[in-house]
Each structure stands twice: as C-alpha cells, then as structure tokens.
C-alpha cells in the first residue's frame, strides 16, 4: 500500500484494493526480474573470473578490449594498463554497463521489476515518497548520451573482434566457424541496440525544430525512429546474444566444446 497519499487518499474513491486488475499483471515484471538477475549473476561471475575469456580467434565481449597484462594474445590494442591487477573485464565493463543502466528502456524495466515503481500500470507502488529522477543518483541517468558515445566505440571494437573471427586458430585469414556466426549475430544485435537508442534518435535529428531545412538528418532520423520503435526488443536480444557469445567462448576455452569449423 502506498499509504494515505495515494489511491487511499482522503479525496479518492474509497475502493480499498491496491488494484482491481484481474489479469496477470505481475508476470512481466517477474520475468524481467528473473532474467535480469540471472544475467547479473552470470556476468558478475564471468567478469571476476579473469579466465577462459579467449579461445583463438574468439575474444569474449566481456573482456574486449583487453588492456592489461593478463590478456596476453587477446590484447589487440596493447596493454596500457599493466598495473591493473584485477580482472581486465572490470576495467571496461563500466561502459556497456553504464549504457544499459541509463538506457531509457532498461530504466523502465528495472524501475518496474526491481523498484516496483510502479510494478505495473494502475497497480499501487509500495513507496511512501517518490522523487523520480530529480536527485542523485538517478539524476545521473541524464548523462545517457555520453554512455551512448562510448557505446559507439565499444560497438566498433566488437565489430573489429568479429572481423578477427574470420581467422583460424593460428591467425590465418579466410576461415570461419560456428563461433564466427554467433559473433556476427551478436554484433548485428549490438549495433541495432546502439543505433536504436533514444539519445541517438535525438542526436541525429530529433533535436531539430525544422526537419525541412535538414533533409539528410531528417532521413537519418526517420531511420533511427523506425529502429527506435523496437528498442526494447533489441535490448533483450542483444543482452541474450552477448551472454551467449561469452558462454560460447567459455565453453571453447575450457575445452568443453569444440568449435565446428566451416572452412
């Protein structure tokens, strides 16, 4: 119950129930809660593990770019952070994590599923007070666009990683395996998610007041708008795909599975 200030307030119709919804409104937030929690547990484990993140030619996206001395042959961009003793993933994961945490879709999802604010439409929330995104830390969600700038860089690096998967274990070009396919699917979904971002939509043209004076940006805006309508789907799919790629690398690196090579 939200106390006397909400639907039980003195001026409101005295209905009593927290909601009269008879459908399974709790299903969506529950599913979100379970899946996101599962991902967080898995990703945390893998990020701290600092092992089994590379199996030539595949580098797990959780560890890319790999910049510390632990990276060895996976260090495509050198090892400028040799002094970093923790897992190399922890150095760079803040960027995709920040991008997703401040994403307009993920915000909706976790405010509903984790904070129950509100759990579902027309279902009273349990909190006494509410200040939205006007204070720290939630006001920081307003810097989403900076995370988006970094997300572009991350997506470029992951694209580079995907190009590298067209090699064999010894670094010879012109080869392909099942892993290459999985990497390809993942990078497409990562780009779709990154480019369908609301901040992207704003930056390419949404901020304009006169589309007619900027025909190219207007064209770009209409493309991004079309992607943006499916932003939530891309958010979910790319979450699954990035976890799947990492898990696949883990399987290869632990020799639990052998990468089927096509050519």
């Amino acid at each position: 119950m939200s106390g006397a200030s909400g639907v039980d307030g003195p001026t409101r119709a005295r209905i009593g129930a927290r909601t009269l919804r008879s459908d399974r409104w709790w299903l969506a937030p529950l599913a979100t809660f379970v899946v996101f929690s599962g991902f967080v547990v898995f990703a945390t484990f893998r990020a701290f593990q600092a092992a089994h993140f590379y199996s030539a030619p595949y580098l797990s996206p959780f560890y890319s770019p790999c910049l510390t001395s632990k990276c060895q042959e996976a260090a495509d961009f050198g090892t400028p952070f040799t002094w970093w003793q923790l897992s190399p993933a922890l150095l760079i994961l803040i960027f995709p994590l920040g991008f997703r945490m401040s994403c307009y879709y993920y915000r909706k999802a976790y405010y509903r599923a984790f904070w129950l604010s509100p759990p579902a439409c027309a279902v009273a929330e349990p909190h006494k007070t509410y200040s939205g995104e006007t204070r720290l830390p939630l006001i920081l969600n307003n810097i989403h666009r900076y995370f988006w700038y970094f997300a572009i860089v991350v997506a470029l690096i992951l694209s580079y990683d995907t190009v590298l998967t067209f090699r064999d274990e010894d670094g010879n070009w012109g080869h392909m395996g099942l892993g290459t396919l999985i990497f390809l699917v993942n990078i497409v979904l990562i780009w779709l998610y990154t480019l369908s971002c609301h901040s992207c939509r704003h930056a390419v043209g949404g901020r304009l007041r006169h589309f007619s004076k900027h025909p190219v940006r207007y064209r770009m805006w209409t493309w991004v708008s079309r992607l943006n309508a499916r932003h939530s789907q891309y958010a979910w799919l790319s979450l699954f795909s990035v976890a799947a790629v990492d898990f696949y690398v883990y399987l290869l690196a632990t020799n639990a599975f052998d990468d089927p090579r096509f050519f």
Binding site: S5, V7, T11, R21, S22, C121, A122, Y130, S199, R207
Partner: protein, 258 residues
C-alpha cells in the same frame, strides 16, 4: 446474441462508497458505456457518469474497467468473457465527486500554468508557411482528446498526492513537446519543463503510453525527446561549451526563454 451481463459499479462519494452489483441485458457489438447507460435508464436513474460523444473523440467517459484505465465508450464487451463480471470504478487519481465522476480540475490548473504559443509575425502576404514534415510531430500530440487517462495512470501522482503541485503529468509533457517542436514558436520552454513541470519526476515507465486511447506514443515521441531537449539545455557540458564558443545548432535561433 444478447446475454445478461454481471457488473459491479462503484457508487458513492468522498464520504465513502462501495461496489454495487447489477445485472443488465446487453447485446452484440456493445461497449461498457452502453451497459452503464442501460443500468442508468432502468435500474439507477441517478447513477452519475460523465460522457459526451460515445465515439472515442471527446475523452469524457474515462474510468477504470477491471482495474484498467480506459474509455468506457471504446471498451467493447466482446473483449470479455460472457460469464465474467465487469467491474467499473471511477479514476483513482482524482478526487471523486460521485459514482464514476471525478474532479479532474488538476488538469485544468496545469493547463493554465503553461505559457501559450508565441508566433512571430506572419509572412509579408499575410500567410504563414510551415513544411508538412515540420508539423507532423506536433500533429501527433494534438490528437490528444484530453481524456486524462495518462494523468490518471501515472504513478507519480496516482500514488503520491504530494507530487501534484510539482508535476504537470504526461498530457502536459505532450504539450511542452508540441510547442518545443513547433517550427514557428518563439519561446524556449526547456527550463520550464524541467522546473515548473517537473519532467525529472517522470521515470519513463510508460503507463501513459499504454493507456492512451489515441495511440499517441507519449513516452517515446514526447517525453523522452523532451527530456533530451532539457538535457541539451541543463545537463550537457558539451552543448554548453559549444554555445559559449559559438559552435552550436542554429535551429534554435530566435527563441527566448520563458
């Protein structure tokens, strides 16, 4: 074709009330408002309900049907099982007046707080010119029929009466966005949207979009773009720096802050 529909309708006022049971005959193709009208005409002549057009165009008959905010005239009985009891209550965010009628003055007060459109002079031939692509975003928002279901379902005020003074609500973010995207308007309302209208209170949980009977993409097309515009004005150091050293978007020229 016709069948006996079981309904529970909230009857009462600010001093209290309860869900009353009614059984009413309904027929094919009817909507919840038809059933309510039949109850009114045959069983409860003083059942208070607000309605006008009965065509989803005026936005008067907003209520909650089985707990979901909806227009009674656009909620078809065929969407429910014939054996299901349909519960109709007034909107729960606004003070109740009587039965299904609520006091929606909150929204009219908020409308008054919003500075109106401020156009420049007309062109030399006495007409105004705007490109179709420039008015289309605003036109989507002007489809709003002011049913106030978005205001009703928004938890910021639904669950927190104390937020009402500081929060204008989705309907008026729609209006802010419409004016901010208007190709001719000379006012810059971004600071106001953050300050007086409290757009920062919105946590984009999208219930407004879910209940909009006009299908306006309130969150994606109005609130989030408006939040991004507020960020341009208030939070983005690069945009601030750009405007200081003269590298900036000329598209906003000619606007004054209100």
């Amino acid at each position: 074709m016709g069948y006996e529909l079981k309904m529970r309708i909230w009857r009462g006022d600010q001093d209290g009330g309860e869900l009353g049971d009614y059984t009413v005959e309904v027929s094919e193709g009817e909507v919840v408002l038809d059933a309510i009208h039949r109850v009114q005409a045959t069983q409860a002549g003083d059942l208070a309900v607000r309605w006008n057009c009965k065509a989803g165009k005026c936005g008067s008959c907003s209520a909650e049907v089985n707990g979901r905010p909806a227009l009674m005239c656009m909620t078809r009985l065929s969407d429910f099982d014939e054996t299901e009891t349909i519960t109709v209550t007034p909107m729960r965010t606004f003070p109740v007046i009587r039965d299904l009628v609520t006091d929606v003055s909150f929204n009219y007060e908020k409308a008054r707080e919003l500075p109106s459109f401020a156009p420049p002079p007309r062109d030399a031939d006495g007409k105004r010119r705007m490109a179709q692509v420039d008015v289309e975003r605003g036109q989507e928002f002007r489809k709003c029929i002011e049913c106030f279901l978005c205001q009703n379902t928004c938890h910021v005020v639904r669950d927190h009466e104390e937020n009402k003074p500081a929060f204008a609500g989705p309907r008026f973010f729609l209006r802010y966005a419409e004016l901010d995207m208007h190709p001719l308007d000379t006012h810059d309302r971004r600071s106001l949207a953050q300050g007086a209208a409290g757009i920062g209170m919105c946590n984009i949980t999208k219930c407004c979009t879910e209940v909009c009977p006009e299908g306006i993409k309130i969150t994606d097309n109005a609130i989030i773009p408006m939040k991004e515009r507020v960020i341009d004005r208030k939070f983005d150091p690069l945009v601030w720096l750009g405007s200081k050293i003269g590298i900036r978007n000329k598209d906003d020229d000619g606007r004054t802050e209100v």
